[in-house]
């Protein structure tokens, strides 16, 4: 039994709701116990580090203090939350001067026992794709997906220490374990412009359009991501006429595991996912 502290983050209470429900369902199916951090606060996301560096480290540090009290490693499904929590952990571990400032601002002493994981990392490293493949009842045969890692899962590598920063492969391994076909494509780690989705929608739309075109060029039916900001941006800021959906990897896991919640998750998408999944009906999955 794997036990982890769970940090959902603000987006998973709203635009990323189906990521939250699918993440919890998949973890339960794999025997991972998620203990939600009691009274967690916002990690500060992109905005806090654009406003003040210390604030951007002290806000996530309060959540590390909560995890430390529980004595559990903490898992964050959202890539942006993961990156901020991990940046705080990294500074607490390796930067003595900043550590003192963070500890004073957040009012706790870091004891070094807590590690921050992304949900993808927790599943790939602590459960392993082989075990995940064993749980599959409906292999996603014929579904061609472009695995989209984005920025904050893999960069900067000295902080995330997960996968290869220019050509990551762990999400590809995971979807292959589900029976789907990860395509080779060029946009794996290019920014989707989610931080501009509200303030410069035209920039976000240009970046989203580019990614969708690259995914299509690779022969994909859909994108798959681990980030609620990317997912929302990719579906909400798509250029007119684009119909390619973006799945959370946990949704595809739920589908392959035969979990009951998938229909409700897919109904929350801004793009109709059914055409992309039609291939599964044809292959009898």
């Amino acid at each position: 039994m794997v036990r982890l502290a769970y940090y959902p983050g603000c987006s998973l209470e709203a635009t990323g709701k189906e990521y939250d429900t699918s993440a919890r369902a998949v973890c339960q199916a794999l025997g991972i116990e998620l203990v939600e951090l009691e009274d967690w606060n916002c990690c500060g996301a992109t905005s806090a580090h654009s406003v003040n560096n210390l604030l951007a480290l002290a806000l996530p540090a309060r959540n590390l203090a909560l995890a430390q009290k529980l004595g559990l490693d903490v898992v964050a499904p959202c890539s942006a939350c993961y990156n901020r929590l991990r940046q705080a952990e990294h500074a607490l571990r390796y930067d003595r001067e900043t550590r003192a400032a963070i500890e004073e601002a957040a009012g706790f002493n870091f004891l070094g026992g807590v590690t921050v994981l992304s949900l993808l990392e927790a599943l790939v490293k602590r459960i392993r794709p082989g075990t995940i493949a064993d749980r599959v009842v409906h292999p996603l045969q014929g579904l061609r997906v472009a695995c989209y890692y984005g920025c904050l899962l893999v960069r900067p590598p000295e902080v995330t220490r997960f996968d290869r920063p220019e050509n990551p492969v762990h999400l590809d391994e995971l979807v292959a374990a589900l029976g789907a076909e990860p395509v080779a494509w060029r946009g794996k780690t290019d920014c989707c412009g989610a931080s501009h989705a509200i303030t410069s929608p035209e920039v976000a739309t240009a970046l989203v359009g580019r990614l969708l075109a690259l995914a299509r060029e690779g022969g994909a039916d859909a994108l798959v991501t681990a980030c609620p900001l990317c997912q929302t941006s990719l579906e909400m800021r798509r250029p007119a006429g684009e119909t390619m959906p973006t799945f959370y990897f946990t949704e595809l896991m739920g589908l392959a595991f035969g979990l009951p919640g998938t229909r409700a998750w897919f109904a929350k998408h801004l793009v109709d996912v059914r055409p992309a999944l039609r291939v599964l009906a044809q292959t009898g999955s």
Partner: protein, 187 residues
């Protein structure tokens, strides 16, 4: 003799040192290889490339840098940071420049600047961000609400924009973080 078309630039080398210190980055090491620009995803939308911004910092062109659109267009994707052969965390430099621009009042109408400050206000107030409240406030302030109404209603209908979310119970703890950061010379 004056050179035709030449402009005298207000060099401010003390400011370069300020950026260096505040960002903790060796900005003077940039040798203009433009690898950052080659991978920059917002390049075509910006007024300057990342290596141009670094050059302007090296020359002390404070006002031009702080008034640029480029610093706010940096999405913090960290591609330049990872690829810089001189180990300059360029995205960190951009963040420092954003902080300086905000403190100095430059570029006050930039939408990203407004959004980030509203986002942080939202955290200060509730400990967590309520996306409906944050987006509503931003779109109303900028007058974009009508343009975004369709998307907003779709999100509401899909249950992706709950208006009431709990927030943090111990809000005093979050406010204390803000207060201490301010005392320590921050925001």
């Amino acid at each position: 003799m004056a050179v035709r078309g030449a402009v005298a630039l207000p060099l401010d080398l003390a400011w370069r040192e300020e950026v260096r210190k505040a960002s903790g980055q060796p900005v003077e090491l940039c040798y203009q290889c433009a690898k950052c620009a080659a991978g920059c995803i917002v390049l075509e939308h910006a007024d300057f490339t990342p290596h141009q911004v670094l050059r302007m910092v090296a020359l002390g062109l404070r006002d031009r840098v702080l008034a640029s659109r480029a610093i706010w267009l940096c999405s913090g994707c960290l591609t330049c940071t990872v690829r810089c052969p001189n180990g300059i965390d360029i995205a960190r430099v951009m963040d420092t420049l954003k902080e300086m621009a905000a403190a100095n009042g430059a570029n006050g109408k930039n939408p990203a600047r407004l959004f980030h400050s509203m986002f942080v206000d939202n955290i200060r107030g509730r400990g967590r961000v309520n996306e409906a409240v944050l987006l509503g406030r931003y779109e109303l302030t900028t007058g974009r609400i009508w343009k975004e109404l369709g998307q907003g209603l779709t999100l509401l209908r899909k249950g992706k924009m709950p208006v009431f979310t709990p927030g943090v119970r111990h809000r005093d703890e979050v406010r204390r973080i803000f207060a201490r950061v301010r005392e320590l010379g921050g925001h």
